[in-house]
Symmetry: C2
Subunit: 203 residues, 2 copies
Amino acid sequence: MGITERKEREKQEMRDKIIDAAISMFLEEGYEKTSIRNIAEKIEYSPATIYLYYKDKDELLYDVQKQAFGKLDDVFREKITAADPFERLEQICRTYVWFGINNPELYDLMFIIKAPMNAIDDNEWHNGDQALNALIGCVTECLSKQEIRFSDPRVAALSIWSMGHGLISLNIRCRIKEELIGDIDKEKMINKCINEYVQLIKK
Amino acid sequence: MGITERKEREKQEMRDKIIDAAISMFLEEGYEKTSIRNIAEKIEYSPATIYLYYKDKDELLYDVQKQAFGKLDDVFREKITAADPFERLEQICRTYVWFGINNPELYDLMFIIKAPMNAIDDNEWHNGDQALNALIGCVTECLSKQEIRFSDPRVAALSIWSMGHGLISLNIRCRIKEELIGDIDKEKMINKCINEYVQLIKK
DNA sequence: AAATTTACTGAACAGTGTTCATTTTTCAAA
DNA sequence: TTTGAAAAATGAACACTGTTCAGTAAATTT
């Protein structure tokens, strides 16, 4: 029965087509201008067609978000290489923030905007699992080697993540006034904060 | 010539009416459902009338944001009372996060959504000045007394703020999985993170 | 070749921010 | 007190948005 499988494959290809169009539109024009109608136009289909493959926009955005997390995972695999756990923790922090600063539209979709989370009920969200597990695994190792000044791995992971997310999201949303950073540029200032934080948590 | 002054006063009263309607709508229905049309209906005017007092929605949201910051400033004045700078820093952290967790819609408008920032060109934003200055003043004092493990007040202020903002905004946007916090509730976990952070930065 | 299932779309609905010609109200001068 | 100009308010429209659904076109089965 190759035909039902082909149909299934074609269905997936169409979904990919939609997601690819959406993500490229995201990167080029940003979230605000990425409408169902624009995506439909880009893939040369009617807007209504998209609703044959996705129940609503939130569900579509959830899949785009998954794609975006794939990119973060790729960067993590490439950059997080150190064997020493604390060194690796430092790599995780720096890579995460680097990704956020250099991919603001993707980061927005992954961590700032609400929309994709409407598609899924609380704690069924698995898009961020891989990156989060890398962090949890790493802090757990750091803790067992007594290399960081935390007592609980979960508190450690959430704290470190929050610090990184705070820096990125305040920057993306233009809440950091130049008065607060002095003469250097914002990215340099953010890196300074990470430097200090890494020293702060080091035992 | 009391008449031009009365006109000016009436103009301001109308603006206040619009902002009050907007902010109550924000608190009751959230950002998504706060439309110009809904606000107009609430104050019993035509939508077009609002455009006689505000150039566009972003400019209106900027004023609503100002109101929200006023509420934060009130809470700060009430709760930030310690004379000792480090103790005061701890109060600032806890009060800020408390405010964010308990006023998610206001916090959203102040620090997460982009919209109100479109109304103003970068670094003309003064809505957050009072709270930020409280923080900067406090860390500067802490530094001069050598009570915190930072070398630069700006790095210290941005770091502390980012930690608080990270915790609040990840929570508001439902990015914190229960898996990461264990059995206790999210607010407790967030408080644990603050406890640890306060210990971390203490010299 | 006909019938049936699948894929797709045009048109509509209800909503959004925003503009503008037109009407209503206000208020000083005749 | 009536008149005329200035100010305030609005109805209707424009160009969007997400979404639905009846109807058309294509593919597959009988």
